[in-house]
Subunit: 330 residues, 2 copies
Amino acid sequence: MQKESGTPPLRVGIVGYGNLGKGVALAIGQNPDMELVAVFTRRPPEELTAVENAVPYARITDYSADIDVMILCGGSSTDLPEQVLSVSKLFNTVDSFDTHAKIPAYFSQVDEAAKAANTLSLISTGWDPGLFSLARLLGQSVLPQGEEYTFWGKGLSQGHSDAVRRVPGVKNGVQYTIPLESAIEQVRAGATPSLTTADRHRRVCYVVAKPEANLSEIEENIKSMPHYFEPYDTTVHFISDEELRENHSGMPHGGTVFRSGITGNGSRQRIEFGLALESNPEFTASVLVAYARAVGKLAKEGQTGARTVFDIPLGYLSPHAAEELRRTLL
Amino acid sequence: MQKESGTPPLRVGIVGYGNLGKGVALAIGQNPDMELVAVFTRRPPEELTAVENAVPYARITDYSADIDVMILCGGSSTDLPEQVLSVSKLFNTVDSFDTHAKIPAYFSQVDEAAKAANTLSLISTGWDPGLFSLARLLGQSVLPQGEEYTFWGKGLSQGHSDAVRRVPGVKNGVQYTIPLESAIEQVRAGATPSLTTADRHRRVCYVVAKPEANLSEIEENIKSMPHYFEPYDTTVHFISDEELRENHSGMPHGGTVFRSGITGNGSRQRIEFGLALESNPEFTASVLVAYARAVGKLAKEGQTGARTVFDIPLGYLSPHAAEELRRTLL
């Protein structure tokens, strides 16, 4: 960090203090070139006992001169679409909007708002969308003649866990997405098979049933749920409250993006980008924080509007100067 | 490619027609948005029988209006340092300069030359330096608290093969660098051991001896060679000319960059970027060609001077428009 010793720290704000917001606060603590100015929350700020500087969301506009980049940590379904447009009127932003089908429309709206306000907004970062998107782009660009495979897991899927918990008779539960080793081995061996998502993954549920619930009905209802479980090899385990709390309260995730391609006169080439995460929200948070640094630098250079990970040179993620990166990492 | 249907193809030139230059010509053929204009060579052009448009290197200046990006495919020890300064006076360039210790000085010289000539030069791309450098940068930036490991191989090392061939009594030979599975497994299991390069790799040589050479002397001379072999677990196999030709004329390579880090309250997180390459020069060539596309676009935007992979947004590597990348890859 010596090169930047004269540079003031990047002043960061957080909007929303769920798992992701907490992870962002912790990640900022790992980066000495950053400072957490405030956490904005819709809850009574005194409820955020672990946070020194919790501020009611309604007061966010008071901070327009004090924060360089605001990291939006709300959910994609309602929080982000609403918050990003008002927050980007005053602040540069970073978010993890991940509703794939809505990204183009979201980008356009944010781009318009940020350009009008002379701010810079990076959307849809994290690991998928985010780093996995970069891996797909790199694979396609370097090996245009090839096949791409994304395997997710082993990981706790929030959406599938929610679906399990909505089944009648279910008190609580979690769902793990597990990549099929046999499929991964096929791809690693250089084959380029046609594999649907269901051919690449299986699903394992740990369910706490309500007293007197019919277990086989629960199992049947889960396994036959269209899209979520129906095309997959699904296993349902019934466990106790205690077991769920003790063994299934972590949020591991990860996965691998493969690109298998052919070059020249038939040489097989493979690119592989993998993540093994003990905490999905903390890792996503770490990615958001590195990209917040990039947004801070690019905004200083006068850039405005919406951006995605595809638009950001990776050198901007680092606290180190370009000369140092060339000397130590190339 | 539909979005770019109105865009003329990127006009590419190649300087040097060894293994890398051949790979670049083949890679250009896989990218319909590019056109190979000419291959510049110091050999008599008629020797390049596989090439339609071989041109004597001395005539390169005649092409200044006809080529958007020149890909320099010479070696790092003498060709590139000499060629890049003269070629960048007239052309945007991409090269794979890989003498790590000399990269900062090389960058400065190229930056000065290219700025003076209003051209753009990307240096030191390929996979290491290149994609592996990006993986290291990403790992450090996202997981600042962590350890980094690069494993190379299984791969044919040109430098070590040359060293084997210089040993008295050796007629011909190759050397493979092989990562130690046990060390990889340690890192994958989440340990962050201290490992030297020799702790992470072993070396296997296939040697054709001259008639009447003393085999045990050859073996001893190889194994005791300082830096190259001395600190490593080295195996020497003696084989026949035919066996060498049949089983060891490919140029496989690859490796993996790991970043093992800790976030939040102790969650272990791992990022892994791996390559498994049947042809090292063809893959390196494919990377150079994707970056040539980026250089073409950035030069059109008016950028000049020297760049490295750290400065290039990955979106520029793709033939597809930004909207399409957001829609299909995020």
